[in-house]
C-alpha cells in the first residue's frame, strides 16, 4: 500500500493488477478518503505505533553525540559540548581507518558477494531433478544457521596456523600459507566467509522470484527459437530485475554494517589496521571505554552515510524506471508501463 504525492491512496493487492483499487477522485477531499479507508488506517495504527516507539523514539538518543555523556548522569544530567565529539572524531586517525575499512569491505562484498546468490539461484533453478535441487539448497543454506563464532572456528580449524591446510603444507615440507592472520588478504577472507555462510540463504528470495515467472513466457521464447542463454537473458533476468534492484538498495542501507561479530572475532588475528570497522570502533570507544558521546557521533555519521547511500541508489533505480524501495510520486513511468501491459 503506497501513497503518491497528491495524497491519493493506492492499494495494491496480491502481485499484480486485476484487483488494483484506486481510491482517487478529483472531487474527493482528504477527509472523505480517510473516512473511506478508516478501517485500513486503524489496522495500520498498531504497527505505526511500534515503528514510532522502537525505531523513531530511540533516534532521539542521538543527542548524546553532542554531550559529554555519562549513563550514570543521564541525558538531562550530562553537559552539552557542542560538536566537540565530532571534532575529536575528525582528528582521530583510528576513526578514519575504521571508515575506510568499512567502505572497502562494503564495496568488496557488494561486488563479490551480492551476485553469488543470484548465480546460485539460476544454477539451482536450471536443475531438473527436484531431489538434487532440494539437497543442494539445504546444503548451501545450512551455514546461515551457524553463529559467527562457529564459522570462524571452522575456518580456523581448516585454514589456521595449526589447521588442516597448514598441516598438509607442513607434511610436504612447505611453509604454511597464513590465511587467518594475513592482513593483506583479509578482505578476501571475510568475503569468503560471508559467501560460505549466507550465499545459500540469500538465494531463497531469488528462487521464489524465479518460481513466479510464467512458464508460458519460456515456452513462447523457445517457440521463437531462443536457446537456453537467450531465455535466461530475455525472460529470467528481466523478471528478476525488480527483486535484484530492491535487495541491492536494501543491502546498500546495511552495507556499512559489515559484520560486527565476524570482525571483532578476527580483529586480533589480523590487526586493527585491517579489521577495525565503524561498529568495532563504536564498541571499543563507547561500550568499553565509556566515551559514549564520541561513539554516538561515529554511529550518527554511519547512519547518515547509509541514508545517503539508500536515497542515492533509490534515485538511480528510479532513473532506470525501476520502483526501488518506494514508488515515485504521481503516475510513474513504471506504473505507466504496467498499465500499458495490462491493457
Amino acid at each position: 500500500m503506497t501513497a503518491n504525492r497528491s495524497g491519493t491512496l493506492v492499494v495494491e493487492r496480491a502481485a499484480q493488477g486485476p484487483h488494483t483499487v484506486q481510491a482517487s477522485g478529483a472531487g474527493r477531499t482528504r477527509w472523505t478518503q480517510i473516512r473511506h479507508d478508516g478501517a485500513r488506517y486503524l489496522m495500520v495504527l498498531p504497527a505505526l505505533a511500534l515503528v514510532l516507539l522502537f525505531d523513531y523514539v530511540p533516534v532521539l538518543g542521538n543527542i548524546v553525540a553532542f554531550q559529554s555523556y555519562s549513563p550514570y548522569k543521564g541525558i538531562l544530567g550530562s553537559p552539552f559540548n557542542g560538536v566537540a565529539n565530532f571534532q575529536r572524531l575528525a582528528s582521530n586517525t583510528a576513526f578514519w581507518d575504521a571508515l575506510v575499512n568499512t567502505l572497502a569491505i562494503a564495496a568488496v562484498q557488494l561486488v563479490f558477494f551480492f551476485p553469488v546468490p543470484i548465480v546460485l539461484a539460476l544454477v539451482l533453478n536450471s536443475l531438473i531433478s527436484v531431489r538434487v535441487r532440494t539437497v543442494l539448497q539445504s546444503i548451501t543454506y545450512l551455514p546461515h544457521f551457524f553463529s559467527w563464532v562457529i564459522v570462524i572456528t571452522v575456518f580456523q580449524q581448516v585454514f589456521g596456523g595449526a589447521g588442516l591446510l597448514a598441516q598438509w603444507f607442513r607434511s610436504r615440507g612447505w611453509e604454511p600459507w597464513q590465511v587467518m592472520t594475513n592482513a593483506d588478504t583479509f578482505l578476501a577472507l571475510v568475503t569468503a566467509q560471508v559467501v560460505w555462510k549466507d550465499a545459500g540463504w540469500g538465494m531463497v528470495v531469488f528462487l521464489a522470484a524465479l518460481a513466479a515467472i510464467d512458464p508460458t513466457q519460456y515456452e513462447a521464447a523457445a517457440v521463437d527459437g531462443a536457446n537456453r542463454m537467450r531465455r535466461m537473458w530475455h525472460v529470467t533476468l528481466p523478471a528478476l530485475r525488480p527483486v535484484i534492484i530492491l535487495l541491492l538498495i536494501l543491502r546498500l542501507g546495511h552495507s556499512l554494517t559489515v559484520g560486527f561479530e565476524q570482525l571483532i572475532l578476527q580483529r586480533t588475528a589480523v590487526g586493527v589496521r585491517a579489521a577495525e570497522v565503524l561498529d568495532t570502533f563504536v564498541y571499543y570507544n563507547g561500550i568499553l571505554n565509556g566515551n559514549w558521546g564520541m561513539a554516538a557521533a561515529a554511529g550518527l555519521i554511519k547512519g547518515l552515510v547509509s541514508l545517503l547511500l539508500v536515497v542515492g541508489a533509490n534515485k538511480v533505480a528510479h532513473l532506470f524506471g525501476e520502483p526501488g524501495i518506494y514508488q515515485r510520486g504521481g503516475d510513474s513511468s513504471h506504473h505507466r508501463r504496467r498499465k500499458a501491459r495490462r491493457r
Binding site: P71, I152, T153, S171, N289, G290
Partner: protein, 543 residues
Amino acid sequence: MSTSPNPLLRRRSLLFGAAGLAVGAAAGCTAETAGTPTDPAEASQAISKLLPNYVEFNPVQPAFASVNGTAPVYKTYPKEPVVTVPQPPGKGSSFSLMVPVSAGVPPTLPENKYYSAMNEALNAKFTVNAFLMAEASAKYATLLASPKDVPDWTVITTAGQPARFDEAVEACFEDLTPYLAGSAVEPYRNLATITSETWQSCVFNGKLMSLPYPRASFENNALFYRKDILDKRGLGAPKSAADLLALAKELTDPAAKMWGIDTPWAITQYIFGVVPMWKLDGGKLVHRYETEEYAAALEYTVSLFKAGVVHPDALSKTGNPRTRFTAANSILYPAGLPGWRETLVNVRDSVPGFDMQVFPMFHHDGGKPIYYWMPPTSMNSFIKKGTSPDRITELLGIANYLAAPFGTKEFQMVRYGLPEVHHTLNASGSPVQTERFQREYRGTFLYPCAPNRPEAETSLPAYLDALITFLKDTSQYIVKPEFFGRNISVPADLTGLDQQMIDFENDLFANRKSMSDLKAAISQWQGAGGNQLRDFYGKYRDQ
C-alpha cells in the same frame, strides 16, 4: 580464573593504599574531582574508621604460612570441621545474583543440585545469573548503565570494571559502611577475619561499598610445563631468557602438531620484570610502555614468534591455551598460579600421565627476579541501591557464611557441595570433587564473598608440596608497585589508551610492525593522553 597477561593493565582503576584511599575518603569525591589536596593524617583517620575490625581466626594451622602476602598452604583436611554459622543465615528471601565464571556456564535450577543445596544451606532462594568472565567488560558496561536493572547482588571483576566506575558505584549500589565499619562487623564473625588490606580495596568514593573476593600477593602468571614430556626428553628448567628460547626450540615439532610455548607475552613481561603500570625514575613517573624492560620483553617475545616456537593459534588468540596444553599441542604454558590447581582438578582423570609442574621464576639474565604484588581483590560484590536494611543485613549474613575460612563446615559446603553428590572422601579423608561438582559449581557461590585466600586442595598432596617449594622461593622477590592498593578511577577520555598499545603488541608479534615502530607507538600513546595520564597520577603521588 582468566589468565590476563597483566591484570592491572585491563583495569579502569587502581586500588588505593591507606594514604591514597584516604584522599578519596576524606574528599568524598569521584576520581575526576579528586585533585583537591587533603591532609594525609586526617585522611588516614577517616579511612581507618571505614574498615571493619580484624579478628584473627584460624581453625587450622597451615603447613606453609603466608609470606609477603602469599596464600597459606594447608596440607591436611580437618576430620571435624568447625561450625561458625550454626543456623542458616537467610530468612527465606529471594535474591538475584550475577556472577562471572571462568569456564562454562553452569546449569540452572532445578537441574543444578549445587544451587539447590546452597539455597537450602543459606535458607534463601538465589536466582543465579552466571556469565563467562571473558564477556565481563561489555556485560558490566551495559548493565550498570541502567541502575534499576542491576540484580540484588552483583559480582564485578576488577579487570572488568567499566569506565566511570566511580560514578556507576554511586548510582547503582548501597553503601555498606554503616553495616560493617569498625565494630559493626563483629556479628559477622567470618567477615571479621578478612584482612584490613583486603577491605581497603572495597572502598569506593570514600565509602565501604563492596564485599571482597580476596587475592594473594602472588597470583601472577607463572610458567607451567608438561613434566611428563620434558622428563622423557631429559630436559630441565630454564634459568634465563636464552635458556627458555633454547628449550622451546627443542620442544617444537610442528609436523607432530607440537609447539614449545603458548601465549608467551603472558610470561615474558614477568621474566623481564616489567612494572604493572608506573615506576619512579629520578622522581619522575615512567609508564611501563616507556621502560627499557618493556622494550626488551617485547623484543624477546618477537624473537620467540620469529623462531616458530609459539603455537600459531596464540597469535590469533583463538581456542583455549589450556586445552592446547593438556592436549600436548603446546608444552610450556604461562597461566595465573590458581590455574595450576584448576587444571589439575579438571584433567586429573581424563589425561593419562598428565603431569603439570611449574618452573621456578627466573630473571631474563639469570639474575634476581622481581614480581609485583597484585591488588588485594580480584573481584568485588555489590548490593543493589535501594535494598532495604533488612535485606542488606540478610545478605551480609549470607556473605558471612560464604566467608568462612578453611577448616569450617561452611567452607566445605561452599567449595565441595554435598557429600556423595558433589564430593567423595579419599583414603586420607580429603574431599575429592566429582565431575558433577565441576559442572555445577564454577565458583558461583565463591566469588560473591570469600575468606582470605587459602591453598588447600588436600586431595592433591604432590601439588601442594610443589606449590610450597614454589612459594618459598618466589615470595622473597615480591615487591609492592607504585600506587599499590590505591583505588584511582581514570577519566573516561583516557581509559582507551591501553587498547592502542595492546593492538601495537599484537601487530608486532604478528610481524605486521617491527621494533623500530615502538618509538612512534609510544609517542602516539603519549600524545593521545599518556602524558595527561602521567599528570593525573602525579597528583595522587604528590598527595
